[in-house]
Symmetry: C2
Subunit: 431 residues, 2 copies
Amino acid sequence: MRGINVGLIGFGTVGTGVVKILKEKQTLLRNKTGTNIILRKICDKDIKSKRAISVDESLLTTDPDQIIRDPQIDIVIELIGGIHPAKEYIIEALKNGKHIITANKALLAEEGKELFLIAKQHKLSIYFEASVGAGIPIIKSIREGLVANRFLSILGILNGTSNFILTKMSKENLSFKEALQEAKRKGFAEKDPTLDIQGIDSAHKLILLIYLCFGRLINLEDIFVEGISNISNIDLIYAKEMGWDIKLLAIAKKEAQELEVRVHPTLIPQDHLLSSVKGIFNAIYLSSDLINELLFYGPGAGQMPAASAVVSDLVDLVQNIKAGLFKPQLEVIQDSSIQRLKNISEIESRYYIRFMAIDKPGVLAKISGLLGKYQISIASVNQKERKKQKVVPVVMLTHEAKEKNFKEALSRISKLDVIKEKPVAIRIEEL
Amino acid sequence: MRGINVGLIGFGTVGTGVVKILKEKQTLLRNKTGTNIILRKICDKDIKSKRAISVDESLLTTDPDQIIRDPQIDIVIELIGGIHPAKEYIIEALKNGKHIITANKALLAEEGKELFLIAKQHKLSIYFEASVGAGIPIIKSIREGLVANRFLSILGILNGTSNFILTKMSKENLSFKEALQEAKRKGFAEKDPTLDIQGIDSAHKLILLIYLCFGRLINLEDIFVEGISNISNIDLIYAKEMGWDIKLLAIAKKEAQELEVRVHPTLIPQDHLLSSVKGIFNAIYLSSDLINELLFYGPGAGQMPAASAVVSDLVDLVQNIKAGLFKPQLEVIQDSSIQRLKNISEIESRYYIRFMAIDKPGVLAKISGLLGKYQISIASVNQKERKKQKVVPVVMLTHEAKEKNFKEALSRISKLDVIKEKPVAIRIEEL
């Protein structure tokens, strides 16, 4: 029985989980693959701290070259995260003939073009199941299980931290800040949660899903991204009263020859499956030419779920390497019917709007008059309190409107003297 | 570029879908695999009727031997369904060195032991993604994507017909018969819907999921199976009032060294994801040692979803064959910690019970007295109407009780002279 040698760079939370599985489930994995998977080296800046699993000291190194340049190593697992030096390590490993497994969504979303090209030139594979939805086998499902499908849309709740915060705010009527504190306390938010709450992490993951579904690796700058930090709990309450939930949704939709891509807080109907995705859970909702609805749901983060995904990539690679003649991954094919990305200003959407307006006669007429001027029709309007001559919330749902028109109308309305705060506008997906 | 030759037996609904994909997506599949997939022969009893896709007449035959015994053919797709002659065709094809793709859950669940063994002896694979959850890539996900997981439980809504009927009954307050008629009208139920509504189809699928998750192919006779034909719409209404939904659930749970396996109508909480699975949709909800919750959701039947799954199996096989040295599937490994199947009489469950009892003093005392004798404690009780000396429904929810005790108590209660119909009892899963 030939063994396959593996090197791990990054002995943090997920890395420790991977080592744990490889040690504790050695027999299971050998029985499933007919191959010995040998963990040959583990590299980390810190090899002194105690981990939840004990490893032979001779396995540990602080020098990545001992993995990248070891001719015995077939597969390198990169779990240090961030762009640098992860990128350099991976390029060097590829040039030394090693297949790559990574959970690094930021790196692949921002530098994937270069990395995938180098891998291809060297007839090597880059696997990244853990980078989206942790343990949910979404990447394998899209790439292999749904291989014959032409995708029409992706809707994802892809960031566990944001979803935890929104769920907390909604359930316990907390402010954004309070819910963020709670997320930090529970270890669900990092010290600097910017990437998560500003929607960047969701955008990174969406870029990878779009790459697999539509065959294009688009640039982060080309995506409209809006985070959740401006969401207020009263909007969650008003939305709920009207039968909606607010989720940070990552959206990609093919319409004719255009692809619409965006990440933003979104009102979705409470009776939709995505609305049942609470707390740190993630879900990916797909539609294709062959299957109208598919949903994949699971924890969006966590040591063992992510490690489960890394090990499934590892087993795939082991199976392919041991087939003798290396079996490459299925090619990602560009959907040639897509000609361009739609700009956010061109999209059409329904909107939830909350104005803080002075409660006096004629205010609604002014607002709706301006909306009407921009061809925006109102589906419902609801003044939430009565306080004559005082500032009260007025909540409107619009019908479909062009983003460009909507933005202009909103800008003009916010200048009215009866409007006392910047209006809050949240897009609606009817699903 | 070497081509891989495929023979199809069964040119019905799903078969036609497969031919459609192979014709219309030839280029996509060639680009993804780097291989030509050549449909060499199609066999059906009826090769005269027009299909939604036109094929060259020379491809058609009524003689399965032209596929099974053609030395050029690498892969046989069996889509005729039923045990015989599908079983004989598959055995003969395996003996002739052909890999198998099938959607035939009944065949694999009942005769899988023999078929998998013959395949193994000949170093061939049997793929069956379309047999559970149609287009949902659940089999690949369990076998490969979750390869490192030790499973703890499977909860599935696995039969679209039953779920459609229960959804209709609940939403539109129809009787079972009316909802079944509607399902037939819409083409969601077969002329003889016995396998679907009696839970047998769900049990077949559960057997296959258990095979993949726990490595044992258990016998249909060893599973407790109860269908939905005794469910009445008033039970759906009463359940809903108390925050529950009723679903036909396929359940497998590992507890210590035992596996609990059953299929029956089940009360589940309305706020659980499985409760949002409506109409013909299916869902599989998994729990493992590495991932506490995973859900896979999609249409449970349909021409193109099922064809999507068949083609994904085909692409897997094509990839493996073309790797030169044939790469076998990952082994299914028996979970050796499971010593035995739990008998239904040994399980513990909460229950919903509806008695039709005469409305007079002392009735509740009699019922609850008998329940108490068997160590069954009542969580809530609700007399739904008041009609002195007339028959009224009395609804109870129990705490956890032993099935054996519960059955005996119910049998004694039903003999009371104040009880006027056979009591309805439905198990509860709290999830």
